[in-house]
Amino acid sequence: MAAMTKAPRAQKRTLGQWAKSRDGQKVFVMVAFMIVPLLLLFTFTYLPFAEMVGFSFYNMKYIGARKFVGLRNYARVFSRDDCFGALKLSLYYMGGSIVQLALSLYLATILSFKVKGGNIFKGFMFFPYLINGIAMGFMFKFFYTRGFVFDTVLQWCGFELENLPYWLKDQRINNVSLVATSVWRYFGQNMVLFIGAIMSVDSELYEAAMLDGANRFQQFKYIILPSIKTIIMLNVILSITGSLSAFEPSYVISSGANGTATYFVVMHEIAHTQQKVGLASAMAVVLLCIIFVATILQKLFFKYVFRSAEDEDFNATAKRDKKLARLAARKAGK
């Protein structure tokens, strides 16, 4: 792009001169650096995505002939009960992600102050994130099996087995059980991100705050929270979009049976078992749109909620300046 716009302007120079010039070298370096990642990005992300969008207009299987059906697949996504019904389950996962963020923020704040054995705790809490999702699925299948790990632990705490629910069988709580595994897995990762952000806060601020008599909670509220709002926002957005596309817990632990099939699991079933590739592609595109909308809504929400003191001050001064200017203008007019 740069080359094309620049070339006609510098008509006096020959191509060789241009190549030797600073402008030309800039372009060379840019192209050389960009071409590999862009090529990879294009080949493995945008090209398959474009293909998939193309698929969504066809009635097709993985192999065999395709038939163009226009928007019929999209109409089906909206008319089927199971597609959007599955999105209701995302509410469980969203609820879970809020718990997860609160928990990780709390732990991150505590661990960012001087705590005995802090690094060990960090390590233990981060560890679940390193476990492969499939292995985790098998682990929790046994964990929740009647009379196995979880029930045994609860029995030590004085619960009677008869009073305990069937964690995966009871349709009232099985989604909660699944969400809990996802919280367990990801809160450590969130926590580490939060700790990283909190570390970047200038420690002199705490000292100053302490001198002013601020307690730990006030320090959290007025120093830490405003300083790390960007990373909080990022985590919330990632968690919410993640909960819209939840897949692993439901697929691996309960294989989507017994009312635990999330949108992704339904999509997987349609794409691979029923081999309605077109319909599944349409579902994917619809989900993408939903995630876009959700992300934009969250951005707007945060813009409203996290209007920091500085911003308000800035607005206030701007308004005041305008007012003064108007008054001055009026005076001048007189």
């Binding site: 192209v31 299987k61 046994f142 069937y166 069988k169 349709q171 099985n174 079933e269 691979h272 081999q275």
Partner: protein, 483 residues
């Protein structure tokens, strides 16, 4: 200086590009190599012509022999080739069975190198690989429409010839040609623990759904065993219930592939304890009466083998392939038995038998590799004893059946007949369109029966009405004549 750096960078970029290009160029360099190879066997064929003239003449024009032309142990023993075989038997790859069989094969065919690859998620993975074309030489045919067979696989022989060589030659038959040979075959019945049935006082094997439920009830009342273990959590074990549709449920081996798709109301209750309705009703009733495991959502497939072996489970609805695994899972292998499905149509108990995954040869392979693959497949079918060792119903026409099928005496054993010409893809289309996917991974619909029976959320008739609606909608959409 700067210019040099720029040059170096562009050079680096060019080199990375050429690296990518290299991936393509290796293929092109390989091609001449295979051509060289094909020249060699041509010479071999000539030398052969001198000795057994009649045989060689038949082979020479085709290049690749047909299945029936190959005489295992005599032909092509000096053929040199390397063939790749992708399969789903990860368990047999791990325990060395596959390697042992290939070693045995190499005693007769020392120059044919077989490179097996066990694929874990075979059903999906193989389909994806198939679409690339460059997947190897032999694979087990995944869920492909029969009309597509010729695009991917070599026709092994005419159906007529094949039918004389093997059972279930019609399984992958299209347009008069057979494309696949099952590595083993299975019969559809119920694997059960004889000791548990005896302890419960069930002396005679149940022959009808009512007798079966009564037997399960007896097990619950008189023993500590779980009468019927559903294996709900594994999923595919629920789809196993579909295997009894047609031959077993209707007593008609043409039903599944020829009539089912045209049936306007396949899920109606015929009232005599037969039909698809009563097949799934067994499951619904068993769950509703508490004759299954306590927590079905956490069933453990690997664990259930030991459980039935120890007598903690009465029976499981699984194909005959499961028998060997249950028998070998513990010390009480003698207790494990196999019985026909408890459904009697017009006074006869029918048993459905059919081929498992079938060997097929890549249509894009070189002639040499095709020939070597053909030899390997025929050797595996006739000489490897794989089918027998797995407890399979014999694929080779002259093969021998294991003892476990003794309970099948007096039953009529039938293999599903092929679809009518021109309607080969009908059932697949119906399965996909209705999303019920009978015998094609439709596990969710059977799991739903268990959920409904356990929670009481739906009556059995509601589910059947739902299935009928889905079936009829699919028939309407695909414009299939229903009656």
């Amino acid at each position: 200086m700067k210019l040099r750096k720029v040059l170096a960078l562009t050079l680096a970029a060019v080199m990375t590009m050429s690296l990518v290009a290299c991936g393509g160029s290796t293929e092109t360099t390989e091609a001449p190599a295979t051509e060289e190879k094909t020249e060699a066997p041509a010479a071999e064929a000539e030398t052969k012509e001198e000795a057994p003239a009649a045989e060689a003449e038949a082979e020479a024009p085709a290049g690749v022999p047909t299945y029936s032309q190959v005489v295992v142990g005599e032909d092509y023993t000096d053929l040199t080739a390397e063939i790749k075989w992708i399969h789903h038997k990860t368990d047999r790859a791990e325990d060395g069975t596959i390697d042992a069989m290939i070693a045995e094969f190499n005693k007769v065919y020392p120059n044919i190198t077989v490179v097996p690859e066990a694929v874990t998620d075979y059903a999906e993975d193989s389909l994806l690989r198939l679409s690339t074309g460059d997947w190897g030489d032999i694979m087990f045919i995944p869920a492909v429409d029969k009309a597509e067979l010729g695009n991917y696989f070599v026709a092994l022989d005419s159906y007529e010839n094949m039918d004389k060589e093997i059972n279930f030659a019609n399984q992958w038959e299209f347009g008069g040609q057979t494309y696949g040979v099952p590595y083993m075959a299975g019969a559809q019945g119920i694997v059960y623990n004889k000791a548990v049935f005896e302890a419960a006082g069930v002396t005679e094997l149940p022959k009808t759904p009512d007798e079966f439920i009564a037997a399960l009830q007896a097990i619950k009342d008189n023993t500590d065993a779980i009468p019927l273990y559903t294996n709900y959590a594994a999923g595919w074990t629920m789809g196993a219930w579909d295997a009894y549709i047609g031959t077993v449920s209707e007593g008609d081996n043409t039903y599944m592939n020829q009539k089912f798709a045209h049936d306007a109301d396949p899920f109606a209750d015929p009232g005599d304890g037969t039909g698809i309705y009563n097949l799934y009703k067994i499951l619904y009733d068993a769950v509703a009466n508490g004759l299954i495991e306590d927590d079905y959502t956490t069933t453990d497939w690997e664990g259930c083998k030991g459980m039935i072996n120890r007598g903690e489970i009465g029976c499981m609805v699984l194909g005959s392939w499961a028998f060997v695994q249950m028998r070998d899972a513990g010390e009480n292998g003698d207790d494990i038995g196999y019985m026909p499905f408890p459904m009697t149509v017009g006074g006869t108990q029918y048993v459905a038998a059919g081929g498992d995954y079938s060997f097929a040869i890549n249509v894009n392979a070189s002639d040499d590799n095709k020939t070597a693959s053909m030899v390997f497949i025929k050797w595996m079918t006739e000489k490897s004893n794989w089918c027998y060792n797995e407890g399979g119903y014999t694929v080779d026409k002259d093969g021998q059946n294991p003892d476990m099928y003794s309970a099948f005496d007096g039953c009529t054993v039938l293999g599903d007949a092929s679809a009518i010409a021109g309607e080969e893809t009908l059932l697949n289309d119906m399965n996909a369109e209705s999303e019920l996917s009978f015998n094609a991974g439709g596990n969710a619909k059977v799991q739903r029966i268990v959920e409904a029976a356990a929670t009481g959320s739906e009556s059995f008739d509601d589910i059947m009405a739902d299935w009928k609606a889905a079936w009829n909608d699919a028939q309407a959409y695909l414009e299939i004549e229903a009656n």
